[in-house]
Amino acid sequence: MSSLSAAIQDVFNEPGCAKNANKSEAERKKGCTKQLQPGSAAGGCAFDGAKIALQPFTDVAHLVHGPIACEGNSWDNRGAASSGASIWRTGFTTDMNETDIVFGGEKRLYHAIREIVEKYNPTAIFVYQTCVPAMIGDDINAVCKAASQKFGKPVIPINSPGFVGPKSLGSKLAGEALLEHVIGTEEPDHTTPYDINLIGEYNLSGELWQVKPLFDELGIRILSCISGDGKYREVASSHRARAAMMVCSKAMINVARKMEERYGIPFFEGSFYGIQDSSDSLREIARLLVERGAPEDLIERTEAVIAREEARVWAAIEPYKPRFSGKRALLITGGVKSWSVVAALQEAGLELIGTSVKKSTKEDKERIKERMGQDAHMIEDMKPREMYKMLKDAKADIMLSGGKSQFVALKAAMPWLDINQERYHAYMGYVGMVKLVEEIDKALFNPMWEQLRRSAPWDDTANNRQLKAIAQTDALAAEIAADPALADTTRRAKKICFCKEVNLGTIEDAIRSHGLTSIEAVRRHTDAVGGCCKRRIEDILVAMPVSSPPAMLQAAE
């Protein structure tokens, strides 16, 4: 087994990832997250995942080994901010050509590394593997090793060619590369009892800097941030931190967990989106540090800072209350952010009428219920048309979302504010929440939405596209309502497992006829993978009465 497939297997075995831990041996082998479906729209590849995870290391030259496709379309595409070096923004690639593909690209890669060393002399070079050289068998590990020795400089292979899987896998493979080649290879100049690592924080739009002053004030030192505004030396010596925070995403959970395992650095998963979350995260950091031997007063000092900052931010949000009163918002975004900004928005006076839970965990959903009430719309995988109707029916005044949903929002003629990554404003920390509220205010009151809502003056009702689309959906809904059989067919046709296209009816039938009670059992009796659809199957199991096989069936047996 090559080192790459070993690394992939290792990532799939990641015990920190609840999803993977619940898979069967066979499924784990099959792969992480959703299987890509040929012919359907898909997100970024493993290379992209690795690249965006590591690109924010600022004093590193990021060299992409492959034809122009990979780096040509991706260099400097993320607004991570750097406090110093800028070499991370320079696009380095071997730009492989036909000859390289026939005769192998290793030599070219080696020369490219040499030229970077000669002309730029960066602290380190990260070499990214891509599909083509991986397929022709270029051994970038060997080239990097040789180059490292020859030039006396860290040359780190990042083995995550696009074809191995999706973006999230790539991020984890990037983490593996750090664990294998970088972390623990150097020692910090000095250590303090207040040293922490931030893992999975990218300093987009300089967000981290909005929080850092609070750390500075408390005397907490970010020994290493992986990877926003990160330096090679910092991550190389990050194994001396006392505690770690995994920021927001599970993308690098393997790094956090393995550092705990290898170096005894405890970590927690936290977020700086939202006021409560910021406070919780600061508290947790202080608690972990004190547990690891930092002076006790840190906790008290942290509480003081939290109290001050919270008071400040609530005061800043206060003036928006009258403007937001009666305004309804929909929040469409993945995972943690969904519930973490809810409190702040509610405090600002917005009524939240729904949020997406596509990427949320069960706990996330519980939190949402807690904060928004039982009736909150929880939007899962939704067809654009359904989403459109829901937006329209909900009569929301604004939709807060990541870039992908904007199009539906716009077609549904609804104001929209981007709160995901490719945005211009930084929303992290206490200050960030005020900024978010300010931006929501602007979006809500922008007069151009009037144009969006209003149809063209010459449009009569019969000819209005929006109304037509709604009428179509409504007609369908009416038809379903009128015909119980059709309603049931429609209900049962709902896809539960997207990978294997297993619908609700099939699963319900299996549960009913075999008296299934666990996901494992459902998996055995249907084609459902039980990976990304695990939570949906759980919900079905909860919703179905725990039943022994029906009497008829028993009789038959």
Binding site: S86, G206, K442, F445, N446, M448, Q451, A456, P457
Partner: protein, 519 residues
């Protein structure tokens, strides 16, 4: 010597050489009565204060850096829009040279126009002889289909009677009796180039419709389905009129563009010099009286023409340089109402695209503050569009705007929550604008090329929209009317916003952490 024949330096490099710098320094010291630099600096700073602004706005007699030009310029602009028409300005030739260079510098095209070259004698004894000779010469030399006469101040001050002069000239055989010589009195001491446009156009229509100065019977209106279109004085006439024709054709409306100068101000380079090109045919100009309606895109460019047309029995509709969704909607709805034709799907889609673009970028424009100056209608149209985008047109200044214009803008501001801090300044100049920009700063300035001095002095980035644009080429070829034209304005504004962000984030190692590829 910094300069040598092997490698000739351009002026902006050459005079930075030490010997020239020395020379200029010496001249300053010895002959230019230099002031104490600290005192100069103090005054410079003082000129930025509210105190200075008050004095500046108390100015009564002096106009400093005017944002308007004179009537005959507008007359020439309108006249060249007719088939084979030579603008003939009765007055001094120096003025005419200005109109030609002004138009040439903006449109990057030759500008054909003659004058009667009045001199001192003419000023004393009247310009009749100049008219007689002038018409004869230009008729023979330039073979026009029509000569459109306007005037400079000189002729107006001595009171030359164009009607009588032209009649006499015809009697004396300067031009054939049946040759079309419409005329308009266009003194620069009244109004501005927009007034001149109005007068010249009215003069031409009057000529054809009202019996050619008493030589033929007046036209009897026999209504048809056509719509007349008047663009007004417009720096974007080339792109705009082509866009308007496209819209008319898409809607299937029969139309006559009056004063269609889109071809003569944009002739191809193909080996042939076209002194005249395209334009409204004289026949169409005459037949325009039969139309169902006349639409003017600029109310203040047609203040006299529209009532004149209306008196001849058909409907007139005026807009104020419509830009943006609502304004274009209104324009198209008017076309649709008058013609009875539907808005075609193609235009509906263009509308949707404009809204889409506005939605995509709204966050960047939202709440940005703008100062605008220019012709009255242009100012109004841009201010309305900015309000639609959620921006604030804080200062709107028009040297040739009047009280009625101010009132109309006030009503516009009152209708939008983004207009609450906005003010209109009629009759003010660019030195007033300078005080406004210093004392109530804005994010961007919209104006013509002359705005670059304000940009330099106040640091307010200039978005070049207006007339004249001398220092940027070819913008006049792109429309700013219709949904597609509005898109061009939107892009211009956005470009400026993003360039400004880049400029503020491009210091290596200091601010470039935000020097991003994706905005």
């Amino acid at each position: 010597m910094a300069q040598n024949a092997e490698h000739v330096l351009d002026h902006f490099e050459l005079f930075r050489g030490p010997e020239y710098q020395q020379m200029l320094d010496n001249k300053k010291k010895m002959y230019e009565n230099p002031r104490d630099p600290a005192e100069v600096e103090r005054i410079r700073e003082w000129a930025k204060t509210p105190e200075y602004r008050e004095k500046n706005f108390a100015r009564e007699a002096l106009t400093v850096n005017p944002a308007k030009a004179c009537q005959p310029l507008g007359a020439v602009f309108a006249s060249v829009g007719f088939e084979g028409t030579l603008p003939f300005v009765h007055g001094s030739q120096g003025c005419v040279a200005y109109y030609r260079s002004h138009l040439s510098r903006h449109f990057k095209e030759p500008s054909s126009c003659v004058s009667s070259s009045m001199t001192e004698d003419a000023a004393v004894f009247g310009g009749l002889n100049n008219m007689i000779d002038g018409l004869a010469n230009s008729y023979n030399m330039y073979k026009p289909r029509m000569i459109a006469v306007s005037t400079t101040c000189m002729a107006e001050v001595i009171g030359d009677d164009l009607n009588a002069f032209i009649k006499t000239s015809k009697e004396k055989g300067s031009v054939p009796a049946e040759f079309d010589v419409p005329f308009a009195h266009t003194p620069a001491f009244v109004g501005s180039h927009v007034t001149g446009y109005d007068n010249a156009l009215k003069g031409i229509l009057e000529h054809f419709w009202d019996g050619k100065a008493g030589t033929t019977p007046k036209l009897e209106r026999t209504p048809n389905e056509k719509i007349n279109f008047i663009g007004g004085f417009d720096g974007y006439t080339v792109g705009n009129l082509r866009e308007i024709k496209r819209i008319f054709e898409l809607m299937g409306i029969q139309y006559t563009i009056l004063a269609d100068n889109s071809d003569v101000l944009d002739t191809p380079t193909d080996g042939e010099f076209r002194m005249y090109d395209g334009g409204t045919t004289l026949e169409d100009a005459a037949n325009a009286v039969h139309a169902k309606a006349t639409i003017s895109m600029q109310q203040w460019c047609t203040e006299k023409t529209l009532p004149f047309i209306s008196d001849h029995g058909h409907e007139v509709v005026a807009f104020n340089y419509p830009v943006g969704v609502s304004a274009t909607d209104e324009f198209l709805m008017a076309l649709s109402r008058i013609s009875g034709k539907d808005i075609p799907d193609k235009l509906a889609r263009e509308r949707g695209r404009l809204i889409d673009a506005m939605a995509d970028s709204n966050a960047h424009i939202h709440g940005k503050k703008f100062a605008i100056y220019g012709d009255p209608d242009l100012c109004y149209g841009l201010a309305a569009f900015l309000l639609e985008l959620g921006a604030e047109p804080i200062h709107v200044l028009s040297t040739n705007g009047n009280k009625a214009w101010e009132a109309k803008l006030r009503a516009l501001f009152a209708g939008s929550s983004f207009g609450q801090n906005c003010h209109a300044y009629p009759g003010r100049d660019l030195w007033h604008m300078r005080s406004l920009l210093f004392t109530e700063p804005v994010d961007f300035l919209i104006g013509n090329t002359y705005g670059k001095y304000l940009e330099r002095d106040t640091g307010t980035p200039l978005i070049r929209i207006g007339f004249p644009i001398f220092d940027r080429h070819h913008h006049h070829r792109y429309p700013v009317w219709g949904y597609q034209g509005s898109m061009n304005i939107l892009v211009k504004i956005l470009d400026a916003i993003f360039e400004d962000i880049d400029k503020k984030t491009n210091v290596a190692g200091k601010t470039d952490y935000s020097f991003d590829i994706i905005r």
